[in-house]
Amino acid sequence: MAPPVLEVRGLKKHFPVRRGFFTRQTSAVKAVDGVDFSIGPGETLGLIGESGCGKTTTSKLILLQEAPTEGSILFEGRDVAGLAGAELMAYRRAVQVVFQDPFSSLSPRMRVRDIIAEPLEIHTDLRHSAIDARVGEVLELVGLARDVAPLFPHEFSGGQRQRIAIARALATDTRLIVLDEPVSALDVSVRAQIINQLEHLQRTLGVSYLFIGHDLATVAHISHRIAVMYLGKIVETADSDTLCARPMHPYTQALFAAALPSHPGERSESGTITGEIPSPLSLPAGCRFHPRCPSAMPTCSQVEPALEHRDGAGLVACHLY
């Protein structure tokens, strides 16, 4: 197997909580608490979990918008923590992001040409005409016409804006794109267009994706492998097909039970878990899922399970196995 593009080892991010006049640190929000994964070239890793589970903090750590409390991020074998100068710029060139809401992620005062050209102006010393040519090229890559370059974002629909955001992410020699819920803000008929487009781009360009989402069906569709996150930890990872065929962690099973049916014949009302995600300020002892877990045992509230190999390749952190 080819060496991974991105490897994350023991990644932690704790946000200190200060209370009172003397601003002592009283506790910490453990947003990301020991996460390991890797993404191979041309691969899509789906990161799934509910709000507050640390998906977005993980993506911010990868994009170097936050410094990790512990752990390391390796890009093509090199730790990104020590990068500076030209090497740091090279990393920023290679790792791009597409956000959820294309209405707020594109500046309304910039023309499409300038939006897509911005990373090129920062990272390359191409001439004006060469930048224009590259802008036209990536616009065509994402299925837009070259001549939309002089328009403003408000002249586009949601789906088209998301294409512009993807074009911007592809403008430099991108090897990894962090997709933070890129289709949740779009209309149903447009979602399929964007998902197909992303899959097509991956096949032709060989870029890797970190696809963050909360809709199981969408994540399972686009990802090769899936990591399920709960309260800052990965509770299960496996191939997308393996995970769909046999989810093992009770939380993954609960996510599948909560997934909406694709046909009225598949209706079921049982199996939804009760309760809500506990506050990351006061994490439950032992397994973080045990207060909501239907098959919790006495050990679950005392010992935190480690990720172990599950059958059919993959890892699961649960005392049941």
Partner: protein
């Protein structure tokens, strides 16, 4: 119905539309498809007039459907297809620029389109309740949960004091808020998103409505919380027999919740069918495309993508509004608009391709 709370005693579980036992029971037993419809919308047309009336946007253009007691209708469509405007027309909460220019809304035998706002105020919150998408926006951050849940019972049922408090506790318990006697003193910001949406549900039930319009109530919720909320709505419906209109763009929610589905496109219902028929045998190419564009668990088949963008209502193409995006369009689609074709299995669709099938049945 809900106004029957005459004697000052706390309503028992079983909830709103009437006193527990009888009325709700008799409502439930017919199982829906019998008796007069609760709501009958016929040929409703709501247009927006902007730039002093020089620009007319036909947001709702000839929508008809009926809803019976205990029934759930899914109103499906993309943004801008007229789902929300249809709902706002029913309850008379349209923005200023919009006007109902034709058609009728009959609710429990009364015509709503001709009622004044003052008369409508006695219908809204009492007999028709609305649940909106964003619970934070529909709750007032300055008032306690108690005050907001109590409001419909205070105004419509004239409950006061201890009775009112008991009623609120009962409603909060019905939507599964833990320790309601404490939580009702809290403010909305002290609640999680799922709890807030359940509170909005409690407010909706407070007047004892016979129709609840839920406009994308779970869009902002997490998947497991969404599943809890949908199950809760179903339980409440089973207990009280309210009719539900579920506005959504999520076909999964339709598959889970609805008895019948109306698919909207460009201000019109282009297909209406019982939910089973719609998923088994969609008649309109747009419905087929919508169903094909949703990823299915465990399948990696490429998704069916509908070309183009949802239409701009201010400049609709002639003929069938879907024809520029339709893969099966024929010449006629660009010139003449198809009427409703009734199908043998009880579905109705607007597509020229069905003309002969309809004639045969």
């Amino acid at each position: 119905m809900g106004g029957l709370d005459g004697p000052p005693k706390p309503p028992a579980l079983g909830d709103a539309p009437a006193q527990p036992g009888r009325p709700s029971k008799s409502v439930r037993d017919p199982g829906g498809p019998k008796g007069a419809p609760v709501l009958q919308v016929s040929d409703l047309r709501t247009h927006f007039f902007t730039f002093g009336g020089s620009r007319v946007v036909k947001a709702v253009d000839g929508v008809s459907f009926a809803l019976r007691e205990g029934e759930t209708l899914g109103l499906v469509g993309e943004s801008g297809s007229g789902k929300t405007t249809t709902c706002l027309s029913i309850v008379g909460l349209l923005p200023r620029a919009a006007r109902i220019v034709g058609g009728s809304v009959r609710f429990e035998g009364e015509e709503l389109t001709r009622k004044s706002q003052r008369e409508l105020r006695r219908v809204r919150g009492r007999r028709i309740a609305v649940i909106l998408q964003d619970p934070m926006a529909s709750l007032n951050p300055l008032f306690t949960i108690f005050r907001q849940v109590a409001e419909p019972a205070f105004f419509h049922q004239h409950l006061r004091g201890r009775t009112l408090r008991a009623r609120v506790q009962h409603l909060l318990k019905a939507v599964r808020i833990p320790s309601p006697e404490w939580r009702m003193r809290d403010y909305p910001h002290q609640m999680s998103g799922g709890m807030r949406q359940r509170i909005v549900g409690a407010i909706a039930l407070a007047g004892g409505p016979s129709l609840v319009i839920a406009d994308e109530p779970t869009t902002n919720l997490d998947v497991t919380i969404q599943a809890q909320y949908l199950d809760l709505l179903k339980d409440i419906q089973r207990e009280t027999g309210v009719a539900l209109i579920f506005v959504t763009h999520n076909l999964g929610i339709v598959a889970k919740m609805c008895d019948r589905v109306a698919v909207m496109y460009a201000g019109k219902i282009i297909e209406q069918a019982p939910v089973q028929e719609l998923f088994d045998d969609p008649k309109h190419p747009y419905t087929r495309a919508l169903l094909g564009s949703v990823p299915k668990l465990g399948s990696k088949e490429p998704l069916y993508s509908i070309a183009g963008q949802p239409p701009n209502l201010a400049s609709l193409p002639p003929g069938c509004p879907f024809h520029p995006r339709c893969r099966e369009a024929v010449e006629r689609c660009a010139t003449a608009e198809p009427p409703d074709f009734h199908q043998r299995d009880g579905s109705v669709a607007r597509c020229w391709l069905l003309e002969h099938g309809a004639a045969r049945s």
